[in-house]
Amino acid sequence: MNNQSQSEKKIDTKVFEKKTPSKVAPLPVKAKEKLPPEAPKPKEQVAPSNILEEKSINLIPTLSKEEVVIAEKKKKLNVGSIASLLILVIVSILIIGFNIVSRMSLNNEKSKLQAYETEVTKMTQKMISSNEITERVKLYNRVLGKTFSPKEVVDYINAIAAKSGTSTVSDFSLGEDLSFTLEGNATDMENVSKFWYLLSNDPKMETVTLKSVGNGVNTVRFSFKGKLVLNDFLSSTN
């Protein structure tokens, strides 16, 4: 019996030397069982054997290189399919999750907003009252924003006339933009020209032109047309 196992061992060793390491059919179970317990286990010796027990030959051939490549491809394809499915599931979960979370968050905020709306709607009367006041304030600012004191303007022009000597103004016409027409008289031309000079060089005078000048009985009549700088006369009476 010992001899027999030894001979089998020898045969096995031989086979190992000849074979190329590749995936082949495992040893028949019977052959394995028959090995003596003390017999050294072949390392990674799952290695194929073409010699079967009972003195027969294992006709199952080892896989060719092409077959091995195809088998590997199949394996890869299967793994790829599983991975694709996994990705599909994960992506689906992510997208659906994102969608659900977004919707929930939106609904939550909407309900909050509704609560605020209810709260603010209770105070609309305050808003209406405030808007009424604001409207009047705006009207006030618009209407009286560019007003001037007519008294101040008339006094200012009269003061210049007084500086010039004998010139007096008897007719004032004032526009909304402080454009003016003055008519008056003086004792002589010198006073008229002085008055004209003072008006022309006044810092608050934007433009001034002598419209007409003529001699009357003991007087010289004059007429000026011009415009005052509005900003300098903007009312403080508002």
């Binding site: 027969s56 294992n58 006709l59 199952i60 077959e67 088998a71 491809k73 394809l77 399919s81 694709s84 499915l85 992506v91 689906s92 997208i95 994102f98 969608n99 977004s102 919707r103 968050s105 939106l106 905020e109 909407k110 907003l113 605020y116 709306e117 603010v120 709607t121 105070m123 609309t124 305050k126 808003m127 209406i128 009252s129 405030s130 808007n131 009424e132 006041i133 604001t134 409207e135 009047r136 304030v137 009207l139 006030y140 600012n141 209407v143 009286l144 007003t147 004191s149 007519p150 008294k151 008339v154 006094d155 008897s170 007719d171 004032f172 016409s173 004032l174 009312s235 009476t237 508002n238």
Partner: protein, 238 residues
């Protein structure tokens, strides 16, 4: 006995050959092997185009809507804070004052009565007085239509220059109404001055408005100076 053994071996060999051919068949890469991966890819693409993309788009819409809702929430919070900061009593008092100065309606008779009364107080004699309702274009500055309503008319008074100027000043400074003066003309006629002018008083009619809580709200408390002016003018009317 050997004949039996040979038959058994032949059977074994046959079976093994069959197994081998079966295995060889199995290791071949067939179209059926790549059907599942291809199907998975196709399903993934279809799902992506018809399910995932719309879902993502919807989620993005939810997100943007969420942002809008949050923005609205902030606006309402701010509005609520502003409205809460307004004292109800003070608001009503300010509203009454504003409505006195710029009333909801200005009767021509009341307005003319006030002007004529003021002129009489300043020692002026009336030479012309007429008035009517007007609409003034404001280029969309008021909330109700593009115009301001008012009472306007040409007036003419006679008196001394000082009285005339005092009258003009009072129209602005002492008038409880919001008044503007236009086409001012002062003419001296032998020591007596005649003033002719157009006076306009304004009013804001009551308009039934529904308040939009999301519209821009400007609290009237932003104009404390004008509110104070309204208060002082209103006290003159009491």
């Amino acid at each position: 006995m050997p004949i039996v053994t040979n038959t058994v071996n032949a059977n074994k060999t046959k079976k093994e050959i069959e197994a081998i051919s079966e295995r060889a068949k199995k290791t071949k890469l067939r179209i059926s092997d790549i059907v599942i991966p291809i199907l998975v890819v196709v399903i993934l693409i279809i799902l992506g185009v018809f399910v995932f993309v719309p879902m993502i788009q919807k989620a993005i819409t939810f997100q943007s809507e969420h942002a809008t809702v949050v923005k609205k929430e902030e606006q309402l919070k701010q509005l609520e804070t502003t409205l809460n900061s307004m004292d109800e009593g003070i608001l009503q008092s300010d509203l009454v004052n504003a409505q006195k100065v710029i009333p909801n309606t200005l009767k021509v008779s009341s307005f003319m009565y006030y002007i004529d009364n003021l002129a009489s107080q300043k020692g002026l004699n009336s030479s012309e007085i007429s008035a009517g309702d007007i609409k003034i274009n404001t280029e969309g500055e008021t909330s109700d239509g593009n115009y301001i309503l008012g009472v306007s008319g040409p007036l003419a008074y006679k008196g001394s220059l000082n009285n005339v100027l005092s009258f003009l000043d009072s129209l602005y400074s002492a008038s409880p109404y919001i008044i503007t003066i236009a086409n001012l003309d002062l003419k001296s006629m032998g020591g007596i001055w005649q003033v002719s002018l157009s006076v306009t008083g304004y009013y804001v009619p009551v308009v039934a408005t529904s308040v939009d809580v999301y519209s821009t709200f400007t609290p009237y408390t932003q104009y404390p100076d004008v509110v104070t002016i309204f208060e002082s003018k209103a006290s003159q009317l009491d």
